[in-house]
Subunit: 382 residues, 2 copies
Amino acid sequence: MNFSYQNQTAIHFGQGQIAKLAKSIDKQHKVLLAYGGGSIKSNGVYQQVLTALKDHAIVEFSGIEPNPSYETTMKAVELVKEENVDFILAVGGGSVVDGCKFIAAAAKFDGEPWDILAKNAPVNAAIPLGVVLTLPATGSESNSFAVVSKLSTKDKFAFGSPYVHPLFAVLDPDVMKSLPDRQLTNGIVDAFVHIMEQYLTYSVNAKVQDRFAEGLLLTLIEEGPKVFSANDDEVRANVMWSATMALNGLIGAGVPQDWSTHGIGHEITALYGLDHAQTLAIILPRMMSEMRKEKQDKLVQYAARIWGITEGDIDKKIDQAIEKTESFFHAVGMKTRFADYNLNEEVVDALVAQLERHNQTAMGERQAVTLERSKRIIRASL
Amino acid sequence: MNFSYQNQTAIHFGQGQIAKLAKSIDKQHKVLLAYGGGSIKSNGVYQQVLTALKDHAIVEFSGIEPNPSYETTMKAVELVKEENVDFILAVGGGSVVDGCKFIAAAAKFDGEPWDILAKNAPVNAAIPLGVVLTLPATGSESNSFAVVSKLSTKDKFAFGSPYVHPLFAVLDPDVMKSLPDRQLTNGIVDAFVHIMEQYLTYSVNAKVQDRFAEGLLLTLIEEGPKVFSANDDEVRANVMWSATMALNGLIGAGVPQDWSTHGIGHEITALYGLDHAQTLAIILPRMMSEMRKEKQDKLVQYAARIWGITEGDIDKKIDQAIEKTESFFHAVGMKTRFADYNLNEEVVDALVAQLERHNQTAMGERQAVTLERSKRIIRASL
């Protein structure tokens, strides 16, 4: 399949690379230093950033929440305009980065910024953006996409624009040392499912993209479970680099993509507040099972190359591969059922109604994930 | 290992993508359309380019030879200055792209341009550059490096600068349909050895980089031999994309690199005029054997993951892997001995003298390829 691919983000990877900020942002810029809660203050990242930017003019904005909200980010947009900020530095995980992408676009948007999310209004300009990543997970630090939620209406929408593609991203694996287990778990599962959404479709014989995707999956499977206890720089580096490569456009170039697990997952977060990755881990195994005919060739390839499953009939191989996938999620501390979050039968109709309201009635690489099939997937995931 | 990585090249991949040129180069530019011999005229690429650029001002420069020469490229530099060219479009394989990178830098260089090559004089500016690739091989279409030779002194030097990194590259696999077998063979082997130079070192447990490199090797092994007869778009696409990914900085980020096979290979081309890839295929197998202690872990990993060799003692595994590598070269029509080119014993001292003259006395990822070891490698390759 034809494609155009470009990724302009300059990656500065490794221990101590936060110091690179000093040269990465021109001194004439007025910088919005945007972050989430206070974790960057307790883990030392905040201080490292301030040291690197000691000669820059800085305005701070904190409080960008997980699943960044329209309501919060619009407060930052006001601040950006008031203070004539002309560079945004996102210091945090995917939520902070996504929030900052929306801030960057909304501050330059002529009209009602909500339309960027709800109506796909085109983004024609944005404030330039850089990232110091504190949680490897979403890949947002080197792609053009963001997801923002409106709390008041329980809507969760994505948008994308080359104008919000970060100019640089600092990836220092040491930031992972102070992350709570829950965030490490979320990051690993999030990255894993990003890869699966681009890999597990119908085959177009794109061997490079397939092998790259498989390489990332294998790395997460080998290194993910070690990251919680290992005092091992290499483990952290491998997980962090995998998460970035999982969604920087590379493995998805020239191949079909799915994203229906994300489609259902977003609605679960919007209605019940589960972490993004928690929703993906609940849905993916049942999505794989429901779509086993459409995805058969790739599921068999996945079973063989990732899990070494080559014996038995096709359905048995696929079942084993799904089981292995779910076991991997458990191995990194992730639960995989609605019941684990005290959610039951009632979610089925509520989620289907939400999908219908958002016109998510024909998702996936061949629009085969109808409302009926989504309903079956959700019910099977209770 | 810490690294910084950025690749700005916008890739336009697929059939018919040459038409993208119209929008990829601003119409206010005066474009140097640079190419090699006449092959782009017989295979239709030239006409496609002219059609796409029908509204652009164009100056043509042809005759950039394989292993582009300082002498030829300096003629283009004169033309560029005379005509006030402010964009260079390289239409060709790696030699044309490399030549154009040097033209782009030399035209803006304050001083003697030969110093860029011979004295590593810093490049601080260059004319912007785009590429229409006609031969998948060198990866030059999306990296910052080039190799240029001085015919009069038999010197072959590399240089690199972010200023000569192509802004875009059009990769249309259809161009491969009209390539002579010899060029297809060269391209596959060149890409393969590029990967090996970044992969076959000592292990730093960079799992993503390793798996990506292995994915590219496997793709070339599976698809390379098919490319000569297959009327198969997917085969061509896989080979072309592998060659680009083989040397765009990605698999080499954060890992040690070798390049000593290239070090010896360049001298063979300079002295005896063999194609670049021919020289690599002669040297690599013996380099692998000579450096088996230093590269032991990776050679064993290579044997297992690429060739499925897991039985026997370490030396046996390594020997088998080398044999498989050489057989793969043969399978794509590449010879692997000096004798195949009617070169014999006399090359040993001549090449060693040339290496010494160019201070190539401690090559490789740990500077372990001394003159003595190079001599042994060359002799073993007769």
